[in-house]
Amino acid sequence: MRIRVMEIGVGAFLLAGMVALLMLALNVSGLNLERKNTYKVYARFENIGGLTERSKVTMSGVLIGQVSDIRLDQDALQALVEMEIHEEVDFLSIDSSASILTAGLLGEKYIGVVVGAEEEYLQDGDFFEDTQSALVLEDLIGKFLFNEVSE
């Protein structure tokens, strides 16, 4: 009987460990078990600021994908950002614009997409033609000072 109680205790202990891991995965890291089908679109930016891989891609503030790769385009000498957009978001017209925005004053960088008016839609492998780079604080201050002086 004592051995049985001990075995139950050990079983419960190991089970508690597994449940704890599961809760950490789901509640703390927000792990999504179902992998969403995505398609890839690209955009070139003059300056990506602090954008990183796994940054969010949003439209009207709603999450529609994430940044999957960032590299330097040697021909255009610009940053080439690869985005994975959820499959059900298939209504991004080809004249949509992508801009790098900041969440809050000092928060993380993300990409905001604004849909255009064309009837044709972006397919896997297409490029955003209209892009807007990240706002770099130093540039902004520089411009401001320059204006002050020229006045």
Partner: protein, 260 residues
């Protein structure tokens, strides 16, 4: 002068020899013909002893560490108006660092020292040699189950520690200090990555479990079979495991998060 050098060399060789024999003992205990039916009940008994009975100290310290992190984080972050980031801070510091390290330190004190003392006393009362006399390999009968139990228990305990700590942080942050619940959890979920943070923390715990139990069973098996020897071995277990856990933690952190 030469004497001094010789003594240093002697000491160095002694240490190296101990390290080697620790490896040999481990190998002999683990790389044997597996006997799941005799082994399993022994391992279960040891898991009960080192794991289930350590649960209380782990849960209590996890809760308090999480609560302290929440409190400290809040008082600093509220100055910058970003107190929602408390959740992120508590979760990341627990999952990546504190849970594996503090669990390993507590484990060395609670279970490692007990393992050493138990095996050491078995040796002193010649139970180990009597086992050998009746044809039972003490390495497999005594050392192997204890090693496996420690190896299994530490990651489980560390996971529970993380979870309880985060609960403690949430308790202080949300219920007492009034951080908005939604931003507390969503900030946490945005910044904690399952593979990067949680699995890496778990790998740390596995490594620490291996090292702490290895040191504990070796010190017990290798001790001088007197009462002084046992007390010496128990002290060594706690000191060596704590030092190697802290040093290994730096190495693992540099490899995992340091972009080296």
């Amino acid at each position: 002068m030469l004497d001094l050098v010789a003594r240093l060399g002697h000491k160095g060789l002694k240490k190296l020899e101990a390290f080697g024999s620790a490896g040999v003992i481990l190998m002999q205990a683990l790389v044997a013909r597996p006997q799941p039916f005799t082994m399993l009940p022994l391992v279960v008994k040891q898991i009960h002893f080192v794991g289930v009975l350590s649960l209380i100290i782990i849960v209590v310290s996890g809760l308090f560490i999480g609560m302290v992190l929440g409190l400290q984080g809040y008082t600093i972050l509220v100055d910058y108006g970003s107190e929602q980031a408390v959740g992120q801070m508590v979760a990341l510091s627990l999952v990546r660092e504190l849970a594996p390290v503090v669990t390993a330190l507590l484990f060395a004190g609670r279970a490692g020292s007990a393992l050493t003392a138990e095996i050491g006393l078995m040796k002193a009362t010649e139970q180990l040699s009597s086992l050998e006399m009746i044809g039972v390999d003490p390495l497999r009968r005594i050392i192997a189950p204890r090693f496996w139990a420690g190896f299994i228990c530490l990651p489980v305990l560390a996971t529970i520690f993380s979870l309880v700590g985060i609960m403690g942080g949430a308790l202080v942050g949300i219920d007492w200090l009034g951080i908005y619940e939604g931003s507390f959890w969503s900030n946490m979920q945005n910044s904690v990555d399952f593979r990067e943070d949680i699995l890496n923390g778990l790998i740390k715990a596995v490594v620490f479990g291996f090292v702490v139990t290895w040191i504990a069973v070796f010190q017990g098996y290798d001790c001088v079979p007197t009462s002084e020897g046992i007390s010496d071995a128990t002290t060594k277990t706690v000191v060596y495991s704590s030092l190697s856990v802290l040093a290994l933690d730096f190495v693992l952190t540099a490899l995992m998060f340091g972009d080296l």
